[in-house]
Symmetry: C2
Subunit: 374 residues, 2 copies
């Protein structure tokens, strides 16, 4: 599909909403390259034994696929609670968990329940652009608070915006995409308090949490009923193709999700496959540790060839260049795909397998040697 | 999950939208009974060879589940087009098809692109209540035109409402759920013309189309760019657990879907499993013919015991009773679950396997014999 902006060229018979006419579909270019480091995928695919178990799960449910799935996905939500409890020494159960087809659908449900026409949401940008995108699609006003310095949040400026705008939703991504920036658990606590004063929900998007070593905001959910934490199995669990996102929150938030969710939104296959992957969490988290070490290694190599990088708590990081567009093209010419996230001085690269990372470092060296960019 | 109405008891810190506070989650009771004829599931589960092929499909994609799915699900959309072309002698390709997690998600995307605040949608009720439900969640006003007589559409009254209300969307379900009523292709053509005059889209929900013998509204899509036809693999394909819905429309409608869809909304597993099921369409459609014959048989048996039924083009039908609530309970006492759809003189029953249907007929005979209802 072409990501073209049709602008005024939509046919007159089509009653497309006016505020969508200038939009283009979200998404990075999907190009065929040997080294794809542009969408923060985990390079380690499911192991042979895990795939075998995924197969068995489908074999087990296959003959009943004529029946609707468990509408409330209770077993999966219970397993997600157990996974989190092991990680963070919390005591969640299924009443604290909601799950959907990727964290995008979780975020959309949050907007449908608590946003919409006449309401607004605050985000700290640059950040994950789907927050803004889903706000637009659901008719929620979007208010940007700019990150400062190395893309950190100025809590005092956040305080004054949140107090002034009376927004119902505040989005905070940590580790932040695309910058990798970690917001400390203390700052999240302060933001939670600020939001509580104006009855706003603080939505902490922790898609990349397992790659950082900061405490998770899920440890604040008991104390702050207005904190919602979104997570995903796409990154640490290397399960992007299976589309499983979830949130952790007070049970009243989960009850609100039930009012806006599409019935039977999560297929029997998705529920069964996710349960299998969760049973492999030890193996999958070992890969996360491996990726953290690779992140350190690449950053050192880049410094060695004179490329500055930003501190990151995720499976990606920003590296500096004076000319992102030219360098992006130069890397592509070496069959390496990174992400131009629209920042004037940076490109974003995903931490891949050791071999992919070596190819990236070599391509970057060559590109810089030949073009003297960066 | 309890389907309770919390009304004013939502916590004060939760900024739930005012228009959702009185709602209850959508969904039929999920009860454990031997004969479940309440959600229009197809009783014939995937065959052993089909399950084997589903397994192989997962085995093939398993090791790549760390990667995101094809964002545009092109191969699946192409296969859906081919399936329809075989059925209706049309010439669709992937540019005419959009697919999502069940037809509910397809319908939600239609509302997000063409509805929303300040817009309205018309529906002919009683009908599939998710149309109204999704209208509410997306902030679209909902306008009801009552069906008349045996739940047919009065095209002239439809004309005056559509002209007066300037709605952007008109929903027509055929065969209609829960009544089974078929709207003729000629009436759909007339409605398409009426909608075109006010730049409205006519959304024809054909979830049960394969069970009827009327032409599909997809044969009108070339002539009427403002007709969108929604379909599903849940019913004829006996694939409710896999959650695959789709729509057929002019390519400009598909481009609009791309603006509101969540990126990577359809998992690699869903895409792979649906492709396998589509390759079994001949086998699965044979089951559809079987269910049509069963529908005739049960209706005759019911007439024999003095129970009136309504004509239906779907895998379910309405049967008359003076006291739906008591009869629903009496059938449940005989371990048979049917659906109380809120109509004062009817209950709805799904056509099940021959054995399930026999159990339903026996239970109904006993219930009527003992309670003298009906």
């Amino acid at each position: 599909m072409d990501n073209q902006n049709r602008g005024a060229t939509w046919p007159t018979w089509l009653p497309l909403r006016d505020d969508l006419r200038d939009q283009v579909p979200y998404g990075a270019p999907q190009l065929e390259v040997s080294t794809r480091l542009n969408t923060n995928e985990n390079p380690f695919g499911p192991s042979k034994t895990l795939v075998k178990d995924l197969e068995s799960a489908i074999s087990e449910i296959g003959a009943r696929l004529n029946r609707y799935p468990d509408r409330d996905a209770v077993e999966l939500r219970r397993a997600l609670a157990q996974y989190l409890n092991q990680l963070s020494d919390t005591r969640f159960s299924e009443v604290n968990i909601w799950s959907a087809n990727g964290s995008n659908e979780v975020i959309q449900s949050i907007f449908l329940a608590f946003g919409g026409s006449g309401r607004s949401a605050v985000g700290f940008e640059p950040s994950y652009s789907m927050h803004h995108n889903i706000a637009r699609v659901t008719g929620t006003s979007w208010i940007t608070v700019n990150r400062v310095g190395d893309f950190v949040i100025d809590v005092e400026s956040a305080r004054s915006t949140i107090a002034a705008k009376k927004s119902s939703l505040v989005f905070l991504t940590t580790p932040n995409n695309p910058t990798g920036t970690i917001t400390s658990i203390n700052d999240i606590r302060t933001l939670g308090r600020i939001c509580a004063e104006v009855n706003a929900l603080l939505v902490v998007d922790e898609a990349y949490q397992e790659f950082s070593q900061e405490s998770s905001a899920i440890t604040l959910v008991d104390e702050f009923p207005n904190i919602i934490v979104c997570r995903t199995m796409s990154k640490a669990f290397a399960f992007a193709g299976a589309r499983v996102g979830y949130l952790v929150a007070n049970p009243a938030v989960i009850e609100a999700m039930l009012l806006v969710r599409l019935p039977y939104h999560l297929s029997s296959a998705t529920q069964a496959l996710a349960l299998v992957a969760l049973s492999y969490s030890r193996e999958l988290l070992a890969n996360v540790a491996h990726l953290r070490r690779e992140r350190m290694r690449i950053k050192k190599e880049l410094e060695r060839i004179g490329v500055e990088t930003l501190t990151s708590g995720a499976n990606f990081f920003l590296f500096q260049t004076d000319d992102p567009k030219s360098l992006w093209k130069a890397l592509l010419a070496h069959d390496v795909l990174v992400r131009d996230v629209g920042l004037p001085q940076y490109l974003r690269v995903t931490v891949g397998s050791p071999e992919e990372n070596d190819r990236f470092i070599a391509a970057l060296s060559k590109a810089l040697g030949s073009s003297a960019t960066g």
